[in-house]
Symmetry: C2
Subunit: 226 residues, 2 copies
DNA sequence: ACCTGAACACCGTTCAAGT
DNA sequence: ACCTGAACACCGTTCAAGT
């Protein structure tokens, strides 16, 4: 039953056959080791001892490969909810996990912003978010908008942080300088508050603030429709 | 006093000297005519009858050129506030204008997400947003977070819409198919709500919803400090 | 001093040709 | 049928050499 490898092949130690999963595996290894900026079709193909053209037999394009990778990363998250842990706590923990996962894989947040990670695990993530928001008493339409928004924000925050990191600290100090040197005549409000406002707070903190504020807004009894 | 051009030059009709502003002008012309995907150092240099290396005398890199362009685009917005128009209406109108401006220049929203548009007009935009939120009774720290968040969301929404557009309608129908075919066993909440939730609503509508919800959340009297 | 031709070190994707 | 070498059509950035 076992497929026999021709004995005559002895140049390389059993180069494995290409498969979709094998390609994703190789891509994941590169992502973990070198980050998303090294994640090119040519590099992935190279890791599999072939040329880039071969990948196109299994993967539509580079964007699809990113989507597959992101779905696999989401698979590594704990998406369970026991129904006992308060939904607010669970939401915070889930977004903290999600953000940390993206931050751990430098550069992957950027494609995640533009790609629908078309796979089963992304749907798992949406499912648990909708369950938590529903448990919180958020009506379906608002829950959909909030889910969308919270994921977009968490992803964008990591992506922004990533690209700041790759440009170095100089970028951040430019920002501080600009804000601190705001002309009090032209920009009185900004000048009065200075750089303190925008620099303070990690992206985890800002995510947490958004979760609470959005929930308060959605659940506010005084909410005017519009 | 006027600088004299040598008469002997007759091959080209007065190739203008390179300047930082001239480079931004040329880049803007390309952006308007062909969108941001055509906005490369080589294309901009070509429009100015020179090689890409020449641009680096005036511009640090491609990212900086994007930032200059975005600041110039923001300059085209009406950022005034008469103090008479209700702040809520003014906020809605401002974000509608901002989104429309980004959407009108295909592909520019993406760099705008990752670049601090280091220029005077971006500071004008932040200033008027802070003024409006302050007028709404939002405390400084929350106003800073809200400003940051609303700009990020508006930009990300257009960027997402842009990249969906460039991938074609097929992308959207993939999404609808995935959501509609959610396994009711594994994804009961998603299956029950179907695709209706995520597809409905333009990005203008979603922006408007976020503005109102965030304001409600920030201004909610029951707000627990979290 | 200011400018730039040419090169360096890459990309994603396609397709004709191989096995 | 499955796979891929080689090419196509590009990138951003650098630097030695020119004026």
């Amino acid at each position: 039953m076992a497929r026999q490898t021709p004995v005559s092949r002895r140049e390389r130690p059993a180069k494995p056959a290409l498969t979709r999963d094998g390609i994703v595996d190789a891509a994941m290894a590169i992502l973990v080791a070198e980050g998303a900026q090294a994640l090119t079709m040519r590099r992935v193909a190279g890791a599999l001892d072939t040329g880039p053209a071969s990948l196109y037999v299994y993967v539509r394009n580079a964007t699809e490969l990113s989507a597959l990778l992101i779905d696999r990363l989401i698979a590594s998250l704990d998406l369970s909810w026991d129904g006992v842990e308060p939904w607010r706590d669970r939401l915070h923990r889930l977004f903290a996990d999600y953000s940390a996962m993206l931050a751990d894989h430098s550069g992957i947040a950027r494609p995640a912003l533009f790609v629908w990670p078309d796979g089963p695990h992304y749907l798992d993530l949406i499912e648990v978010l909708m369950r938590l928001l529903t448990a919180a008493g958020v009506p379906p339409e608002a829950a959909g908008r909030a889910t969308d928004l919270l994921l977009q924000h968490a992803t964008a925050a990591v992506a922004e942080w990533d690209s700041r990191r790759e440009r170095g600290e100089q970028d951040l100090s430019d920002l501080v300088t600009t804000l601190d040197s705001a002309d009090p005549e032209r920009h009185p409000t900004v000048a009065a508050l200075g750089s303190a406002l925008f620099v303070r707070g990690s992206h985890e903190e800002r995510s947490a603030w958004l979760i609470d504020t959005l929930l308060d807004g959605v659940l506010a009894p005084t909410r005017s429709s519009g």
